[in-house]
Point group: C2
Chain length 337, copies 2
DNA sequence: CTTAATAATGACTTCGAATGCAAAGTATAA
DNA sequence: TTATACTTTGCATTCGAAGTCATTATTAAG
């Protein structure tokens, strides 16, 4: 077997009695090699245990076969689901995932440094704290980017989005139809674009219904922060009848806090809606009323667009938007006051 | 700014009036360069927007700065949590995560092919379907591996594990103390080592208590499979009073199925225990009795061991085992029959 | 059986940083 | 001042595959 030194294309060439070029060509499709030579090369390669060195290939082809995915993790159950699908789609396109974790805005610079040096073919950014000001740097470095659920003015980067406006308006419609008048909006961290957008849309939807001055509480998209925020709110205010949460994980936190520590039944005393449609909200004890993002379609499109931009970098940036699917769970009921 | 061509160390060298070697050395610590030269180089590098090309460095140093993490995703909530921590620890050691997803045994060969060609510095394997027979191949390719929750006979690879035996015995102890006699063991997929181990240990623990012929149902570690398995079992058997599940996610599935479709209250009519201690089981509606793995310590150790093996490949493989922490939730009660 | 067109092949160069080695520079000791 | 030790520096080579180009082998056409 192969002892200490790696088997290179030269080794294979020597044994097979051909040139290194022939070996290289044998491992590519659509290259000018006779079947005879290719067979011979592949046979001896197999015999010697030769595997092409991807690093050397990257250097000369200037393609790394890696896509950087900038995700978050700590808090929001939606990230693992999206990451998993992205990984699958990218594998099909023969791209590997180089994973970066961004849980607070401070980490971004470090991640960018690594992205430049690693020569990734492209980037998919889904982290909540991803700062869209850094998008220009990608352009300078000529690295295609696809933003996930984050649109940027002027279309300077492609993005795939769920239509938050439609989704949140539908949720508010339902609450309104049930006669709710006392609302609380539970927003995400204020340095997150998605958080900001969803919060503003909730306020706007409520204003459209003639409901003004809605109080806003803040969390960080995590379960604990949902509980904490609701607990804090209840300590100084009377109970609302409906809570519009900027994501599912916080919504579950609110439900648990309401049931455990506030003596409120959901949905009898309190209606709660979330956003995302993560798997866990469909569990029987919660059955949250929420909007499910079409993450299969969104991740597929994100990868398709990215791969296209890698192949033809001069193609214009594009934006694709999907409607979310309203899921009528069991956390919304008629207003009681 | 930099237009179309990448800035290389030669460009910096020319502008700074030094040799390419000097530039290279300026970017490394502990190299023989005068402070004056280093400053000059770093200044012009900054000016030209030069970033060292990691690919070229990988080729010559034979270190990629990447660790392959083989994870699963579909089903078990424990993976995202572990993955996130691994990523954090590896970043601290200046290693990037190259992510591979293994959701069924068939995908392994493809992943291995990629691991060889990408010249990763090391591998951390946590996927349930990771087949320990492939460990020898890593040795042949001289790539250090750390197994997560998977020990292999003969210590041919390092591993960090949670002491499943202790944990499962403690869980069974509790159930036994509550007087349970009618058990169901819900096992994971039979091509998974962890699944097999936990199942056997549950049976062993029960046998030690004098309880024999315990029925076994099978799932795939997912919520849905937990529901399905319990539903199937109930269709042809009378209800057990206690279910020992091989992971938390399935345990939650069992609880939901019992409550929703079987008219069983948990814990009054049915006691359920899980394993792992994923975040979601602490949510108020579940509060599962389970064993929490010390994933902070385990991931830290996995990374430390791997980094050590990368630095000194001839060091012997090591095994580190932690006890899990019993979490007394609210899903276990006295036996009713 | 030529001639023209096409396919297959190998020699050589390239990608960009790191490093062994020898030469040149600087500091220390006698 | 000279001999010696140590530090800086640049040259040339290396990592391993891929691509360019010129040459040779093969096939098709006339």
């Amino acid at each position: 077997m192969n002892k200490h030194k790696r088997v290179t294309s030269y080794d294979v060439a020597k044994v097979a009695g051909v040139s290194q070029s022939a070996v290289s060509r044998a491992f590519q499709t659509g290259r000018s090699v006779s079947d005879k030579t290719r067979e011979k090369v592949l046979a001896t390669a197999n015999e010697l245990g030769y595997k092409p060195n991807a690093i050397a290939r990257m250097l000369i082809t200037r393609r790394s076969g890696m896509v950087a995915v900038i995700s978050s993790s700590r808090v929001n159950l939606v990230y693992p689901e999206v990451l998993s699908l992205l990984n699958e789609r990218l594998s099909e396109k023969n791209e590997r995932v180089l994973l970066f974790n961004l849980d607070n805005a401070a980490g971004l610079d470090d991640i960018l440094e690594h992205i430049w040096t690693f020569q990734v073919d492209g980037v998919i950014a889904l982290a909540a704290h991803f700062d869209h000001k850094s998008i220009n740097k990608f352009k300078q470095h000529q690295i295609p980017v696809v933003l996930y659920n984050r649109r940027v003015a002027g279309h300077s980067a492609s993005s795939v989005c769920c239509n938050h406006e439609q989704g949140i308006f539908e949720l508010v419609d339902i609450l309104h139809d049930f006669g709710h008048k006392d609302y609380l909006v539970l927003a995400g961290p204020d340095d997150s674009d998605v958080a900001q957008e969803r919060c503003e849309l909730a306020i706007k939807a409520l204003t459209d219904k003639g409901i003004n001055d809605v109080p806003i509480a803040y969390g960080d998209f995590s379960y604990q922060s949902g509980r904490q925020a609701f607990s804090n709110y209840m300590a100084t205010h009377s109970a609302p009848t409906a809570v519009v949460c900027s994501n599912d994980t916080m919504a579950i936190g609110v439900i648990d806090e309401a049931r455990e520590n506030c003596g409120l039944r959901v949905p009898e005393d309190l209606s709660v809606v979330g956003f995302d449609g993560v798997n866990a909200v469909f569990w029987h004890s919660y059955q949250l009323t929420t909007v499910k993002q079409p993450i299969e379609q969104m991740t597929k499109a994100a990868v398709d667009i990215l791969v296209e931009q890698i192949a033809t970098p001069d193609n214009p940036a594009q934006l694709r938007v999907w409607s979310g699917a309203l899921v009528q769970g069991k956390t919304v009921g008629p207003a009681t006051n």
